[in-house]
Subunit: 501 residues, 2 copies
């Protein structure tokens, strides 16, 4: 009887997953292959599926079933963790009145269109009224969800459950007082020459090289595939169908290389989730921060390391002798780790990146605390870029209009990018401790021990724990910026011997 109920619960969860993964297929297709005029019908189809998924995932039967199961002492361990987490998600979804969901969805659509338009025309003012409506709705959302000390807690919790504004304040305080001064010292050094990265690189050759990198990481092409899209992303329709996309620029070699490795890291996480737990929390990723830790670990800790390129650079040289035959691996390594104050977050190096995130975090918390208004955003944006990165923002398109997130109503999302990088450093340190000879593994192109370690220590648990619980379980301590700082110091002191930092 209890087993029957448990089976019914799992099947109900899997049905919702079926619908959501179906939407994911439609979204993947939309980004990758859909013809231009297909978009109107596609929007309808996605909206209908979203409505059905919402209805099924908030059904009274499902709520009753979960309550009955949770009342039994015989539901233990993973089953109990799955039920608790599913019930938490269920209760959260129930907090949204349908009217609010519809209004939010419509407002997001309008704001997104207005953002695209404003970005093209460099016209923040045309976008501001739409963003104002959206901010108003986000305030309402905070009230609907409820929160502890600060409304922003309700927002960050959706992406990084268990993390509060207090946690983030502490973390970004650390970033400001410890990372920012370090990065400033580096920004003062002479820059390595990286002009050769921007010569002409044939696209087909790049494509094939990217596939080889994914294979080397252990990405399983029988459970996935790579395609081209404007913005690289990873999506999945089960742990056995995890797809990545990349973009290739003929005049910027790095774009393909690090989008492949970054998305490959995300994909290994999804491929490493337990397929038998399809549709259950234990079969799904933990949080955005943990997801990003997997992509960043591969992109930066591995993919921008000297060891990695000692193995991989000769083959790359052979593919592009006209560009690279006279560039040694040391020179290549320096170039791909050039640190430079810049305007655009997505193309920032691994150090200044966190200043881009810090700026967004400071601005969006001010906005959610009602200390500034939407109209103030460009001013705060520009002055913070001056303050933290010492650069002038020439126009809003390269400034406050550059990110899609706010137009999607995603406030509280940006911090997960930094959290991910910091987790990555902490996990990678632990992997170095746990795996004898990992450094020389990487130097010889063997990445399988690292992949296995991530599978066994992180991926396999899905969302059975909070990020903090997982971090404690894996590394013996909570998130600690020291790991990232030590990684950065060690790496960049080597790169800038004269640094004296």
């Amino acid at each position: 009887m209890l087993q029957n109920k448990l089976d019914s619960f799992k099947e109900a969860m899997r049905r919702v997953a079926d619908i959501n993964y179906s939407s994911a297929v439609l979204q993947w297709d939309q980004e990758v292959y859909m013809p231009e005029y297909g978009s109107a019908a596609r929007a309808r189809q996605l909206a209908t599926l979203a409505g059905i998924a919402h209805r099924e995932s908030t059904s009274a039967e499902l709520g009753t079933l979960m309550n009955e199961l949770l009342a039994s002492d015989d539901i233990k361990d993973k089953d109990r963790r799955n039920l608790l987490e599913a019930k938490r998600n269920y209760d959260e979804k129930l907090k949204y009145p349908e009217e609010f969901v519809v209004k939010m969805s419509r407002t997001v659509s309008e704001a997104f269109n207005a953002w695209q338009d404003a970005r093209k025309k460099n016209d923040f003012n045309s976008y501001a009224p739409f963003l104002e409506k959206l901010v108003e709705l986000k305030w309402q959302e905070c009230e609907l969800l409820g929160y502890g000390a600060h409304p922003y807690d309700a927002l960050i919790d959706q992406y990084e459950h268990g993390t509060t504004k207090a946690d983030l304040d502490k973390l970004f305080d650390d970033v400001k007082t410890r990372l920012v001064p370090f990065v400033r010292t580096i920004l003062e050094q002479d820059k390595p020459d990286d002009a050769f990265l921007y010569k002409h690189y044939n696209k087909d050759v790049q494509w094939n090289y990217g596939l080889k990198l994914l294979k080397q990481m252990g990405y399983d092409f029988k459970s996935g595939r790579q395609d081209i899209s404007t913005h690289p992303f990873t999506t999945n329709f089960s742990a056995r169908d995890v797809r990545v996309t990349t973009r290739i620029s003929e005049n910027d070699l790095g774009e393909m290389i690090w989008s492949c490795i970054h998305e490959g890291g995300h994909a290994l996480y999804e491929q490493g989730l337990p397929d038998e737990d399809y549709g259950l929390p234990s079969g799904e990723y933990l949080s955005l921060g943990i997801h990003e830790s997997q992509s960043r670990l591969w992109e930066n800790n591995v993919g921008r390391s000297y060891d990695f390129w000692e193995h991989n650079y000769p083959a790359l040289q052979d593919l592009y002798p006209e560009n690279l035959s006279k560039v040694g691996v040391e020179e290549f390594y320096k170039a791909i780790n050039k640190v430079q104050a810049s305007l655009i977050r997505t193309s920032a190096d691994e150090l200044t990146y966190h200043m881009h995130v810090l700026i967004r975090y400071e601005i969006e918390t001010l906005l959610m605390e009602k200390q500034i208004t939407v109209k103030d955003l460009p001013h705060y944006w520009n002055s913070k870029y001056k303050e933290y990165l010492g650069i002038d923002v020439p126009d809003d398109t390269k400034g406050v209009l550059q990110d899609v997130h706010w137009s999607h109503g995603s406030f509280g999302y940006f911090p997960t990018y930094s959290i991910g990088s910091f987790y990555a450093a902490q996990f990678f340190n632990k992997a170095m401790e746990d795996i004898p000879g990992l450094k020389s593994d990487i130097r010889s192109g063997n990445l399988m021990n690292l992949k296995k370690w991530l599978n066994q220590n992180i991926h396999v648990y899905g969302r059975q724990y909070t990020a903090d619980e997982l971090c404690l379980k894996v590394t013996g301590e909570s998130l600690n910026l020291n790991h990232f700082l030590n990684y950065a110091r060690f790496k960049y002191e080597g790169l800038y011997e004269q640094l004296g930092v």
Copy 2:
């Protein structure tokens, strides 16, 4: 009030279409891009969507709404036709008990797997028990649906509404007494040399040539795209997203050319349906026979005509000078119209094709009339191939196991292939009458007048009429084999001057 109800009806229909088109995206992906291990989750996802679509399309609310609307005299013309057709589909779906649907779905899955296996191993006996179960269920289905003179009426009606076994008996009797003797005479003639079609043809060059053919037909690439799949097909997710697939053989030029043109014909139909009627009968294809008439018209009446190749052949010669420079357009035309008795339906020429269909029609009606059993199928298959085509079937893989249809539970489907070709000839005749200079249009590569004629006379009506009503409306008479016979005689008498038929 009435308008509100009408809007609700349309929206309910469109929601069902959203779900079904979502399934179509998942199926397209499955055939074209899905990685190998993705299939288990995909099967789940498709089953869940099918269940939801069934639930929504048979809801009591929808039934009540349609009855209320149909009771009003103010519902007229297209609205009334849409309601009548939607109600007919609704009533038909209600005839299926859920238990039966589940059992059928499971039996089809098993039979399909058994068929794939049996075909590989040339082992009909291993498949027979599964097919027997399926035939048993199809008999039950006939009883559930109800029928007039013959159970088979219920089956054919699902593909070609309004057509009965009596109609088909009459049609295929005509085929037997008029077309078969004509084809036999042709089979006795000397065959043209077509060896050059099987030389080596570079795949990429073929691909690009195929795209040009589609463009020439007026296929809109902003509302569609072409990809590669094992079995070419057309699918659509709205009239603005209609996709075709093709296959390319490096040693058989014809495979790509006629799959492109054939699927292109299907696609022009779907792109020509009124997009504003998305989800309503008037926005959907009429019947399989009418769909096939569009593909066959382009494939055969246009794509295998001398006029078409007089324009297109020189460009093809330029692409493959090593194979074609010494082959004149006359020789090419004869080769692509070679008539030959063969074992496999899908690669048959446009004349013997109908003998393949006739054989299947005769066998499946015997089976549904319980005059033969599944075990008798190979015997009847082989003896009818001897009787109609004069050839021996060497094994069941090239015989009774060649088609997927029966393993899918599709009985009554095959006749629509012949019906489609016969409609094609009749429509094309009318187009020749209606469009001044169509022949010289085609000879100069201008296919737009023909496309427009099909758009305006056939596509635009969707499923507002039955096939017979449409045929009468367009050509002034019901389906009449004379048009196909005259087309065949005129064409093949020219090809075989000595024929004297």
